[in-house]
């Protein structure tokens, strides 16, 4: 998977927020932990086919990933959100859910790398 596939625009986040890198690291640590929680929650919701809960979680993932400049999570969550809203969930949507799981995992790695930088 190319690096840019799961990019997070840390520079834009820091610039828009008007904060220093250390503060950004603190915020991204919280974001990373929440991403991991949300990933487990939506997998649980999907397992029991609770689509209402799934939509709520996807909504939240969309909101936080957009706010933290994690563009690939945001666009994938947006697509799933639309499918759930229109009640058009099918086998292709499952592929999209798997894609989201992968992107979230990769994004967590990208954030971990950022947290290790000086």
């Amino acid at each position: 998977m190319p690096e840019s596939f799961c990019s997070v625009d840390f520079d834009e986040f820091i610039c828009e927020m008007g904060i220093d890198k250390d503060t950004a690291k603190e915020l991204y640590q919280v974001f990373r932990d929440e991403l991991l929680d949300q990933k487990s929650s939506f997998l649980e919701a999907y397992e029991v086919k609770d689509f209402q809960k799934l939509q709520k979680i996807i909504h939240n993932i969309k909101g936080i990933s957009g706010s933290y400049k994690a563009g690939h999570i945001y666009s994938t969550a947006q697509n799933i959100d639309l499918i759930l809203k229109e009640k058009k969930f099918n086998d292709d949507s499952v592929k999209l859910l798997n894609e989201l799981v992968n992107i979230m995992g990769e994004t967590v790695s990208v954030i971990n790398n950022f947290l290790c930088t000086v």
Binding site: E16, M17, G18, I19, T23, E26, L27, V30, F31, D33, E34, K56, H59, N60, K62, G63, I64, S65, G66, S67, Y68, Y74
Partner: protein
């Protein structure tokens, strides 16, 4: 410890990422910021140190509750019903916006968060709130 000359903003959102982010944005602007993730947290934080919040920034899509329900509960208390509320949500649709309007919500701000826009909208709400033109009297 809060600076008692600065407006107090209470952020109610079940997302810790959003709470921390909004807190960072608004504290940098000099506001006192309190945060809560649910109804109990909201009622604890709204009235801390004998000082009531000047503005509530409310998410709609909370884990076990809906933001509109929390706003309705607040409005049952004379002590809190005057507090201006702004919605901060990713749920921007006609139904929610018109419900917000009916409930007298001061503003409806969409996520993802745009720090500049958020700061400007909050400044306007506080300026328009009687006696809270940026700073507490």
């Amino acid at each position: 410890m809060e600076n008692d000359t600065k407006p107090i903003i209470l952020v109610v959102d079940d997302s810790s990422s959003i709470r921390f982010q909004v807190k960072a944005i608004l504290e940098k602007e000099g506001y006192n910021v309190r945060v809560a993730g649910n109804e109990i947290g909201m009622f604890n934080a709204i009235d801390e140190y004998g000082q009531i919040a000047d503005l509530i920034l409310m998410d709609l899509n909370l884990k076990d509750e809906h933001g509109f329900d929390l706003i309705s509960k607040l409005s049952m208390f004379d002590r809190y019903k005057h507090i201006p509320v702004a919605i901060l949500t990713e749920q921007v649709d006609r139904d929610n916006v018109s419900t917000a309007r009916r409930m007298g919500i001061k503003d409806y701000i969409a996520k993802p968060i745009n720090p500049e826009l958020l700061k400007n909208r909050i400044k306007i709400i506080l300026m328009n709130s009687v006696g809270k033109a940026g700073f507490r009297r």
